[in-house]
């Protein structure tokens, strides 16, 4: 998927959680896009944006969590279980 596809609303973006990192750490999406986080580590992680009141709950190993980004602006998030892990979604 190229940059052009990423601009179209309704696109699905993938974030991999692996090695205690969100990859990519910063993701730009269009409002209405779907983001799927997939956990490739052997223990659970979460996607938690306290300010935006978004919490995935525990995402187990090899499990995914889907989120539709609606609100424009930057949504920084952490893993609630490992608060040293940071990521960010920028909704354009």
């Amino acid at each position: 998927m190229g940059a052009t596809a990423a601009q179209a609303a309704g696109t699905t973006h993938k974030v991999t959680i692996e090695g205690m990192k969100f990859v990519p750490e910063r993701l730009e999406v269009a409002a209405g896009d779907t983001i799927v986080w997939t956990n490739k580590d052997v223990f659970p992680h979460t996607v938690t944006a306290n300010a935006a009141k978004v919490d995935s709950g525990d995402i187990g190993p090899n499990k995914s969590w889907k989120f539709v980004a609606k609100k424009k602006g930057e949504m920084p998030y952490i893993c609630r279980l490992h608060p040293v892990m940071h990521g960010s979604v920028v909704v354009k």
Partner: protein, 178 residues
């Protein structure tokens, strides 16, 4: 300061662990034994902290150590079974276990915030010690590619736990999140 003493103590024991590992040039079965011991020691400390501490941040951290290190050991167990490697004791694994036992004995004599600080400070020192062993001994010595790969794969968890433990110590020193 207490932290300085503890850091000195752990630095000395960490040196002993490294020296023992480097002198012996651990074999793959010994490396497997070190990985299992390193995880188990932290699981045991986590179990004690979870039942002893009244501080939510410390309890959450302790639970995280139990969950994550149990998962790593499960993965290590599956790999050694597949590779038909039987984990072996070495001076390093013995030193890790002895250090873990000393830590538990010391922690059991403490209560409240003194317990929380001692546990969290030791977690910082311990994860640093294990990371040093991973970088200087385990990864360079591992011969089997899959065993080496497993250690490389779990390294970020130890690094993140180290930073997380530092966060907990900083919060406890600030008076602590409850």
């Amino acid at each position: 300061m207490k932290l300085t003493h503890l850091a000195g103590f752990v630095a000395a024991s960490s040196f002993a662990v490294l020296a023992a590992a480097q002198g012996a040039g651990p074999s793959d079965p010994q490396i497997a034994g070190i990985v299992v011991a390193a995880n188990q020691v932290d699981i045991d400390a986590g179990k004690l902290a979870k039942s002893h501490s009244k501080n939510k941040e410390v309890q959450d951290f302790a639970q995280r150590m139990i969950t994550d290190h149990t998962a790593v050991n499960k993965q290590a167990g599956a790999l050694v079974k597949k590779l038909k490697v039987k984990p072996e004791e070495s001076d390093t694994s013995k030193s890790l276990k002895a250090g873990g036992k000393d830590n538990l004995a010391k922690l059991k004599g403490l209560k409240g915030s003194a317990f929380d600080k001692a546990y969290a400070e030791h977690e910082v020192a311990y994860h640093q010690q294990v990371l040093d062993a991973i970088d200087k001994v385990l990864i360079p010595s591992a011969k089997n590619a899959e065993l080496k790969g497993l250690i490389e794969k779990v390294r970020p968890a130890f690094a993140a736990h180290l930073d997380h433990a530092k966060m907990v110590v900083a919060d406890l020193n600030k008076g602590g999140k409850k």
